[in-house]
Symmetry: C2
Subunit: 201 residues, 2 copies
């Protein structure tokens, strides 16, 4: 596995995927602020094992992720850990926005979506749509009422805020700079994410 | 598709699966009280489309299910609806208990699990483990602290309580009478679920 030593700009509304070896660190920087990234992880030697929102909620015993949170797989392996985090508020309740939900939620037939971005970026790695899990919604903020109702609010991230994710095993990672402009998810403005990939120490 | 006209007893700690045609109703009865059932649904004509906790949270805008809630798929189709419900509190945050989590959470190597039950029951329908989604945890109750921490509490269901689930399209359904006896999930006692299957009117 080799990883890019140059920063990668994931343009607002687009996606990226690549290998992340054990011990490597993925820094995700919110370039302009209030931009969500939908992140999915797959075990490199068996992509049927992949990130699991529900196992992560169970094993971390929380619905919010922050510095120190581990990202668990469908088979309860630790795939990665949030090693450093200047925001400390990430969502593991929402699905990726998708070609299926924009028509129903917003009456828009051909909107760009995180799921389509992830599908396209992960295709070279032989990962089909039905294996793409619900993501870590990096920087996304939902507020929950006491009756269980959800409300999508603008992220707390400001320009330059970032998370460092250290990989515990060899993974394929995919990320989408969320194109959602129909609610407050990205502060009503779609902007870029920057990725810095550091090899194992 | 034909369905059983006889009641089906799902023994505590075991699983069942079968076809549920469009318009049919699955009644799940908690025979002795405080017993959780992990329910998963698959589109019969393409089992890669299946129940989605995250899309259900998004489309129903809640983390709790009750009478009137619809069960959404990975492609944002309505698979089924909770037509009648004497409990009105079901979980869509937890993963199924699994052969992977008992060793880590409780130090037990060979505990029965919902995921293994569902795998075995769904195998005749050609559904592999990696397609089994996080379930509707029927009757399961988790309480959430304001900091996002989760706590597994005994279900509110009492003997005879039930939910009626009407199918919107032809599905394969699988259910496990949860064998979890290491926390309060099933009120510390594993008991049976009863299924009554009603054909389309």
């Amino acid at each position: 596995m080799t990883i890019s030593s140059e920063p990668i700009i994931v343009k607002g509304g687009s996606g990226w995927a690549g290998p992340m070896p054990k011990g490597s660190v993925l820094r995700i920087t919110d370039v302009a602020g209030q931009q969500v990234g939908d992140l999915v992880l797959f075990r490199e030697d068996d992509v049927t094992e992949r990130f699991s929102q529900a196992n992560t909620r169970k094993m971390e015993n929380t619905i919010y992720l922050a510095e120190g949170s581990r990202l668990w797989s469908t088979r309860c392996s630790v795939l990665a850990e949030i090693e450093r985090d200047t925001v400390n508020r990430h969502d593991i309740l929402s699905s990726a926005c998708s070609p299926y939900d924009y028509p129903i939620r917003f009456g828009i037939a051909d909107h760009r979506s995180c799921l389509a971005n992830l599908c396209a970026a992960l295709k070279p790695y032989g990962i089909p749509e039905e294996l793409i899990p619900d993501p870590v919604n990096v920087f996304m903020r939902q507020e929950l009422s006491t009756d269980g109702t959800l409300s999508v609010e603008p992220p707390r991230s400001r320009a330059g805020d970032h998370v460092d994710i250290r990989f515990a095993i060899d993974c394929i990672a995919g990320i989408s700079a969320c194109p959602q402009d129909q609610n407050a998810c990205n502060g009503w403005q779609i902007t870029d994410l920057r990725l810095d990939l550091a090899p194992p120490a």
